[in-house]
Amino acid sequence: MKNEMELSIAALSQNESFARSTVAAFVSQIDPTMEELTELKTVVSEAVTNAIIHGYDENPNGRIFIQTSIEEDVVTLTITDQGKGIPNIQTAMEPLYTSKPELERSGMGFTIMENFMDEVSIQSTETTGTTVFLKKWLTKSTLPSN
């Protein structure tokens, strides 16, 4: 059976851990391995942090939308901000590229997402915001708990 939730949070750094554990709690319904759960938490953390730092330039009035759906053994995540957008997605996705070295960003966010998920795609328009689509097939999945 398919299940789906949507979470909307204020762009505050203390919500990063809340966001990743909420997604993990939801996905737990389809019995992921501990490793898969850590990978999912990590990518949520990366995308939410990007929305806060890059999308909203740390303006806490911004809102971040996290949609999670689970169906059989597939997890789909959509993380959206209505921030400033990414001028050049190709460049942004390069390992080690960061537009904010002064904040000690490592430029590894998208690289981690690509390594930990099976599908990553980014949609972004300057001034209207960014959406990151992420998809992962769980390996040791059991039947949905219902």
Partner: protein, 116 residues
């Protein structure tokens, strides 16, 4: 209380034991704390014990590389020990082992840095 850091000095090594979760939120606090400790110019090396680090994302890479610069300027070393498999994968992706050394446990790591 998401990240706890325990800082001690063994000879000229700053030992950092991290417990909890290291993300963008907690990295900010950790950076301030480490920079404070690194004001002590006797510190030449830094040892990171990650045994109790339950979670780390790329913000952790940034905060470690930033401190590495200070240590490297003093011609010291940054050594990491007791790393989990997940955190290790992120370290490898980021090419961290080009600039820092991995040891299994804290004792052996300290020995390689000249602390008995």
């Amino acid at each position: 209380m998401e990240l706890l850091s325990e800082l001690t000095k063994e000879k000229n090594v700053l030992c950092v034991r991290l417990t909890g979760e290291l993300d963008h939120h907690t990295a900010l606090e950790l950076r301030t704390e480490l920079d404070e400790a690194l004001k002590d110019e006797d510190v030449h090396h830094m040892l990171l014990n990650l045994e109790d680090l339950r979670f780390m994302d790329s913000s952790g890479i940034g905060v470690i590389l930033g401190r590495y610069k200070t240590i490297a300027a003093r011609e010291g070393e940054v050594v990491v020990c007791a790393i989990s498999e997940e955190v290790n994968r992120i370290f490898e992706m980021a090419g961290m082992y080009k600039v820092l050394r991995l040891e299994e446990g804290e004792k052996s790591a300290l020995r390689t840095l000249g602390v008995a």
